[in-house]
């Protein structure tokens, strides 16, 4: 896990105020979010969060009664130009590597955007790096913590 970005995945029922409660819980604990993405179905959603202190985030959310799991994802720095993300995905696609889901955010201080990829294939890092992309390490986004 040390080489991948730790993303929090939270199971949420579709109910008014539930996402707000989740964000407030993180905020009160001083956890700062970098990115948040909601995958929803008719009845429930999975909220995926990149934050500065994932272990603390997991602990405080669980204390508040949320179901939380930690998923390892790749963060790739993508050039800020048309077709930038398409190039990244094509590099994986030609190697037969499937992307489960993806979303982007902008990290202050970086030249490009950060694309978050969930890939269940050990070759992904190697393929991306040999295609010339920078695969982020956890320390690029947050100081790994011990959940206080």
């Amino acid at each position: 896990m040390r080489q991948v970005i730790e993303q929090l995945s939270v199971f949420l029922e579709n109910q008014p105020g539930r996402l707000a409660h989740l964000c407030r819980t993180l905020g009160d604990a001083g956890v700062n979010m970098r990115a948040l993405m909601v995958a929803d179905t008719q009845e429930f959603g999975v909220v995926r969060i990149i934050c500065d202190r994932p272990l603390t985030g997991k602990v405080v959310l669980e204390e508040a009664g949320f179901g939380v799991s930690v998923a390892g994802v790749f963060g790739v720095e993508v050039p800020d130009k048309p077709g930038g993300l398409a190039d990244v995905l094509e590099a994986l696609g030609t190697e037969g590597i499937n992307v489960e889901y993806a979303y982007c955010f902008v990290e202050p201080g970086m030249t490009g955007a950060v694309d978050v990829l969930k890939v269940d294939d050990d070759r992904a890092r190697e393929v991306l790096e040999s295609a010339g992309y920078r695969v982020l390490r956890p320390s690029d986004l947050y100081e790994p913590d011990k959940g206080d």
Partner: protein, 434 residues
């Protein structure tokens, strides 16, 4: 087998014996119990049947009959022939009293000796009877059976769990008889006392007097390193000794030479075929003190079809899976909440916490089961959650034979309660009124 000549009797002989005993019983209660005489008169029946199939025409006995004739009104022998009474605690009303003659006490001891032998006990065993002794049938029922089988019998009764553990250990007890939940407390107490319960000579647990699940059996067997055997009985019919599991642990053999079992559709009260669930009804064939005709237990079970490899010819009933009071009727199908729980304990990724939510879409009643996802589930991929939802749905549908919606809800979001969990939420009225 304690009484192989009875327990392994050919079915044909057994059915003949049952019919003879039933007719003798009918004549006896008709003569001696005014309640039965008037019940028979109401439906215009003579106290005689030509075949066991005619049993279904006889009137029922219910708990309220016993309450109404408290304390001695349903005894079928003069009071001087009764040598013992027991009573069941009334959680809802008056207690009910049952009486036993010398012959009843002796038959009961035989049936409990069968039960213990069925569980694998022999005269070499040391039996700790941790059921309560007193008006409750559990303690004395097991006690007499244990002595009849020839076991060393320890009448410790219930309570004082540290002393229970001390005796288990010091007396090299091999069979523990108590309620299943109490056995777990015994295991935990042993651990607190620094005694590894798995290291004790204990090898068999004989558990009854409360409903329990396969899941609980697995826990008990793991913690105590015993074979956990389910036994069944109720004071209105006898006490423990009505039915018990053998070492196959696949259903409880009903002592059919002493009791007729029927399984009835709880709504229509018509007998269902073997294999289908319904309300369990017993007729006592040999009881003298207080025989009962078609006593409605309100317990839900079914007959497990087929023969048992143990050689007993008595049919097996499934462990009690619920009470008729908890039954739901969903699209005409009888559903017991405990069946849903059983399905959920077998699916990794969900917790056995659920609620059945009834609501209305237009004029249609809809039923949805809300199921908590397990707190340690990997929630990340929607695809996997949808897959889990489909699994739960199809497992519930195949177990219940009814189409039902399933909604996954957050861990710990279903209300927990101290006593009885609120398993059914009916929103139909609220929506109509809105």
């Amino acid at each position: 087998m304690f009484q192989p000549e009875s327990e392994a009797m050919p079915r044909e002989d057994l059915e003949k014996l049952q019919l003879d005993r039933l007719n003798a019983l009918l004549a006896r209660v008709y003569d001696r119990v005014p309640l039965y005489r008037s019940k028979f008169a109401e439906v215009g029946l003579r106290p005689h049947v030509d075949s066991l199939a005619n049993l279904a025409e006889l009137p029922f006995t219910v708990k309220d009959d016993m309450r109404a004739h408290y304390p001695y009104g349903m005894f079928a022998v003069p009071r001087r022939d009764i040598v013992r009474v027991h009573a069941s605690s009334g959680t809802t009303g008056q207690i009910t009293v049952v009486g036993y003659t010398q012959a009843d006490i002796s038959n009961w001891a035989d049936l409990m000796a069968r039960t213990l032998a069925c569980a694998g006990a022999t005269p070499d065993d040391v039996v700790q009877v941790a059921y309560g002794y007193g008006l409750f049938t559990g303690g004395l029922g097991v006690h007499y059976g244990s002595e009849r089988l020839g076991c060393l019998t320890i009448p410790i009764s219930g309570g004082n769990t540290r002393r229970q553990v001390q005796v288990l250990s010091d007396f090299a007890v091999t069979v523990l008889a108590c309620t299943p939940s109490y056995s777990l407390l015994v295991a935990e107490t042993a651990e607190e006392m620094g005694i590894d319960p798995r290291s004790l000579p204990l090898r068999i647990g004989v558990f009854g007097a409360e409903p329990w699940s396969e899941n609980m059996r697995a826990q008990i067997e793991e913690h105590l390193d015993v074979r956990a055997i389910d036994i069944y009985g109720l004071s209105e019919v006898l006490g423990p000794g009505v039915a018990s599991e053998c070492v196959q642990q696949d259903g409880l053999h009903v002592n059919e030479d002493h009791f007729l079992i029927e399984i009835l559709d709880p709504k229509t009260l018509i007998p269902v075929p073997d294999g289908e669930r319904g309300e369990v009804v017993f007729t006592t064939l040999t009881k003298e003190g207080i025989p009962v005709i078609r006593y409605r237990t309100r317990d839900i079970s079914r007959i497990i079809p087929g023969e048992c490899p143990c050689g007993r010819t008595f049919r097996r009933m499934e462990r009690i899976t619920g009470r008729t009071d908890d039954m739901l009727i969903i699209r005409g199908v009888n559903v017991f909440p405990s069946q849903i729980e059983q399905v959920l304990t077998g699916i990794p990724g969900v917790a056995p916490h659920y609620q059945v939510v009834l609501s209305k879409r237009g004029s249609m009643d809809t039923v949805e089961v809300h199921v908590e996802v397990a707190p340690d589930l990997a929630f990340d991929e929607v695809r996997e959650l949808e897959e889990l939802q489909r699994t739960v749905r199809s497992e519930i549908e195949s177990a219940l034979a009814v189409t039902i919606g399933v909604k996954l809800v957050e861990p710990r979001s279903i209300e927990r309660s101290e006593g009885k969990a609120r398993r059914v939420v009916d929103l139909r009225g609220e929506i109509e009124g809105a």
